[in-house]
């Protein structure tokens, strides 16, 4: 019983931290992109706009929840909740440091990939249930994009599993105690990074919500807190993808082990790596223009999938020879 109470406490801490992260990463994004475009970003609410996320959150609670008359009501209701559940549940297998993780299952990576597929359901169901042209097109495009890039992403992680001999994220971190896998798997790292951006629908692959042609894509008809849940799912998904990239390629919670660095708590190294990836997401968004949809699908099917397959064959050959 006491174990169960500790488990619930752990879950509450992780989910609470994630929700706080979601609120402030939006602020971080607006600040980063603002400064990259020679603006200041949010400045009005609190010193340097630091209270902006709180104000936004409160505003979302007080906004009317508009449900279009022709919407498919039950599906319209559950689609955003499904997205949030898929994004938040992924945190179960992420090891934050040696002794802190929620679930220690031997199929950690498979579990994360499965949940990211469930997340694509929330998008296509939202697009379908809204019964609006923009939502419908946004949902269709998004689901085709997500499933295309999911293959490349799944294949790119096979190399990591071969090196670690396990799909458990803790074992993968332990296997990188000397050298991070990015040095052995640069191709897989590149494919994973690009696929992760497409998977979370971020620029330059943010086709489903290309605001210049599809308004807000699948979320066009959503308002208030329901829209907020989609937002939450997207930013939590970014965090999960960055965490997977850090754990599988950059050695997770391990950091330099000499001098003063040895006394830094392990979780700091993990968070540093994760936020470096998140900064990279914003940097790309501020730098690159959006892809065209056909270019995006061609890139996924004709470039990333063969590349990931080739990486598997090369890894297998080298492991056989060594």
């Amino acid at each position: 019983m006491i174990e169960f109470a500790i488990l619930i406490l752990k879950i509450a801490i992780v989910i609470g931290a994630v929700l706080l992260h979601v609120a402030y990463v939006v602020y971080f994004e607006r600040k980063v992109i603002g400064h990259m475009q020679s603006r200041l970003g949010p400045m009005r609410v609190g010193p340097h706009g630091l209270l902006q996320p709180i104000a936004d959150g409160i505003k979302l609670f007080f906004k009317e929840d508009i449900i279009p008359a022709h919407a498919d009501k039950p599906i319209f209701y559950i689609a955003p909740v499904l997205g949030v559940v898929a994004a938040l549940s992924s945190f179960a297998v992420i090891p934050f440091w040696e002794s802190f993780h929620i679930a220690d299952i031997n199929i950690g990576l498979l579990y994360i990939l499965a949940l990211s597929s469930v997340g694509s359901y929330s998008i296509i169901l939202a697009g379908w249930a809204s019964n609006s042209k923009y939502s419908f097109l946004g949902g269709l495009r998004s689901s085709a994009q997500v499933i295309s890039y999911e293959i490349a992403m799944g294949l790119s992680l096979v190399g990591v599993m071969m090196l670690a001999g396990s799909a458990n994220l803790r074992d993968i971190v332990a296997a990188q105690s000397g050298i991070p896998f990015i040095l052995f798997q640069p191709i897989a790292f590149f494919v994973f990074l690009m696929a992760a951006i497409a998977e979370t629908n971020r620029a330059p692959f943010d086709m489903p919500e290309a605001e210049s042609e599809l308004v807000a894509g699948y979320a066009t008809e959503y308002s208030g807190m329901r829209f907020g849940l989609f937002f939450m799912a997207e930013y939590a998904g970014m965090f999960v993808m960055s965490a997977i990239a850090s754990v599988c390629f950059l050695g997770g919670w391990s950091g330099p082990d000499f001098w003063l660095f040895a006394h830094v708590p392990k979780v700091v190294w993990l968070l540093l790596k994760i936020y470096a990836f998140i900064f990279f997401y914003f940097w790309i968004r501020a730098t690159l223009p959006r892809y065209r949809y056909d270019q995006l699908m061609n890139l996924g099917w004709k470039f990333f999938i063969p590349l990931a397959l080739a990486n598997i064959v090369i890894t297998a050959l080298i492991k056989l020879a060594v």
Partner: protein, 123 residues
Amino acid sequence: MSGNYIPSHYLPVISILAFSVLVGLGALIAGLLVRPRRPYEQKLAPYESGNLPVGEPRYRFSVKFYIVAMLFVVFDVEAVFLYPWAVAYDRLGLFGFVEMMIFIVILLVGYVYAWKKGALTWE
């Protein structure tokens, strides 16, 4: 640790699933108490840049999306077959390597066929 299936390891997974459902529904229900509800006909109409909606929203769409979905099923199943192989690769040795290369070559034949047929081309 790897290799054993212990159902109790999945209790945390189920707990976090339940917890996130509570977070999602809780955010909506908490809002229910404070948010206004003043619907009228124009507000509930589908968004179409301010014009009156024209035609059916669920019109016919490109057959390409179906093809992508079918190809996805093929390749995703392939990826699922690769995972246990990758995890056990150290123990399989040369036999495992040859077996999986045959599997990948068969899939590549299908991949090249789909490419030549134009299933991967969007215009």
